[in-house]
Symmetry: C2
Subunit: 327 residues, 2 copies
């Protein structure tokens, strides 16, 4: 349990909204096909925005919401799934954009789960008073690395960013508990293999598909649903999902896919009215999905101070994560 | 102050040792030129090893040194400067190679400073007992992204890996203090701009130089030496370097360049006999430099239990970092 409070938050969606009908036309599909396959109506693709631009706009809103100045930030943590550029880290690139200096910066990465991993590492640092106002941001551009020949994955994703200011709690706001697992049996089921130091970008012309996102949907779904029962048992200290969720006010799962969300909601008995599924409107925004919906739920008053919020994530790895907090 | 102990460590150098004479020949330079420019005699370049392979070999030694089984590891953190592949994170790729499952994985990145940032985030988690045996590894391959047209940078770097097992201290071993700064005025002075979601690998054929490491040596040196006096003042709580170092047994700085190391040792008055500079033999190993020399100094009995060790780093960003620990 950590005395950590969400002081403020903000998000950014790219200017360019892309409907499934537009994707049908772009991909030469019969109208209705993209929606039918993905259950995503709309998603946003960057036009001229970079991930750092998106993060910057989200941070401006978060600072305003937190009612602090940017100079009050004393740690900047990127919790994004993919880097803007290989060197240096995303956080220092955002620091430059914010016009700040001296503030320590680092990136935390577990792909779609990065925001939860960032909460895991910054919460104790805030609790003990090492840092006062920590900026955590998730900004991802899926649209640049999508394989448009793979209809199972390419229709799912959208771009976006979200930012949170976290501080020591002066009320009963808390990060109550957290739990993580990575099951590397699934490490090759969702990946981009080219672009790091293993397969350098100079190979891209020869093997372009290795530089796009590849997802073995059935494999990763099977592994996830095999691992989730035991994972939930650990998360909830042996309590059943139903029992644990009777005390939870809102559940924000990573927006992996509509099918996976609906299936797990029913299978494990998550109360439907508390289980946020907005993938229809935004798609899977990689690391930004969870913080985006957390921010949105706060802004829409679906979350009030004192509410118990369960953040649940799945990500490439295969990684599973949970952060339970009192807002 | 955190009750954290280094339980064991290990390192790996690639099979292929590359002398400066070999580089002279390869680059068509007069014999002696590479050594004269870089002050590096030898460095190691991967042949068929990946960063994950290197990390694996380092971890095997660290586990043996720590006298624990791989199954005892309950958190895996990559503290590498560049990723093996964009998705998923390095830590989960290493987990697969280790034949483990379920162990949580994430990456921490501040380029050359990543090992220090990882210590910053895992130390409180170990101190409070959240994780028992944490594996932190740094594995970097510089040789794949070097610009051989830039003699000022290309001769400097070498590849390598190092791994540490960290546990709760049962003696007076501690992480005593730490301090970090990032000065984004220097964010574009050391970078690789292509290969992330800003400039996708598919652009590499058109602009290959953007996918190689670029260093504005003079700019980054000027900024670093402008920021270091104030940084050291914060690190040492107002004490002078000389005064603080009278209690320090060994100082391990990031091996940025021989010139920078020698200049700062003299300028700030670090005691020469306590100041580790082995860049001649290994070059700048990016994130692996600090943990590699820490492991080596332990193995060579330059560090004994109870010794006060000062780890100092500079990295792209421009990031500065310090971790002070009692071994």
């Amino acid at each position: 349990m950590y005395n950590v409070k969400i002081l403020g938050s903000g998000s950014y969606l790219p200017k360019n909204k892309v409907t499934s009908e537009e994707l049908d036309k772009r991909l030469g599909l019969q109208i209705g096909t993209s929606k039918k396959i993905s259950h995503v109506n709309e998603r946003y693709y960057v036009k001229d925005e970079t991930a750092i631009d998106m993060a910057f706009f989200a941070v401006e809103k978060a600072l305003n919401d937190a009612n602090i100045k940017k100079e009050d930030i004393d740690l900047i943590v990127s919790a994004s799934g993919v880097y803007h550029q290989p060197i240096p880290c995303n956080a220092s690139l955002l620091q430059e954009k914010l016009g700040l200096t001296k503030v320590p910066c680092f990136d935390v990465n577990t792909t779609c789960l990065s925001f939860l991993s960032a909460l895991e590492v910054v919460s104790p640092l805030i609790h003990i008073g090492k840092y006062k106002n920590v900026l955590v941001f998730s900004a991802d551009i899926a649209s640049v690395g999508i394989d448009y020949n793979d209809l199972k994955s390419c229709l799912l994703f959208g771009d976006g960013a979200s930012a949170f200011i976290l501080s020591k709690s002066d009320c009963d706001s808390q990060v109550i508990s957290s739990y993580f697992e990575t099951h590397s049996e699934g490490v090759h089921s969702t990946e981009i293999i080219g672009g790091g130091n293993h397969i350098h970008s100079r190979e891209c012309a020869k093997r372009p598909n290795d530089f796009l996102f590849s997802m073995k949907g059935r494999d990763i779904a099977e592994l996830t649903f095999k691992k989730l029962p035991n994972f939930f048992e650990k998360c909830f200290g042996g309590k059943s999902v139903v029992e644990f969720c009777s005390n939870v006010d809102l559940i924000i799962p990573h927006q992996s896919s509509d099918k996976a969300l609906r299936y797990s909601q029913v299978l494990f008995g998550f109360p439907e009215e508390k289980f946020v599924n907005e993938i229809e409107k935004y798609g899977n925004m990689i690391s930004a999905s969870i913080p985006f919906l957390l921010d949105k739920s706060i802004k829409e008053n679906r979350i009030k101070r004192g509410d118990n919020i369960l953040l649940l994530g799945t990500g490439a790895g295969l990684s599973l994560g949970m952060v339970y907090l009192k807002y």
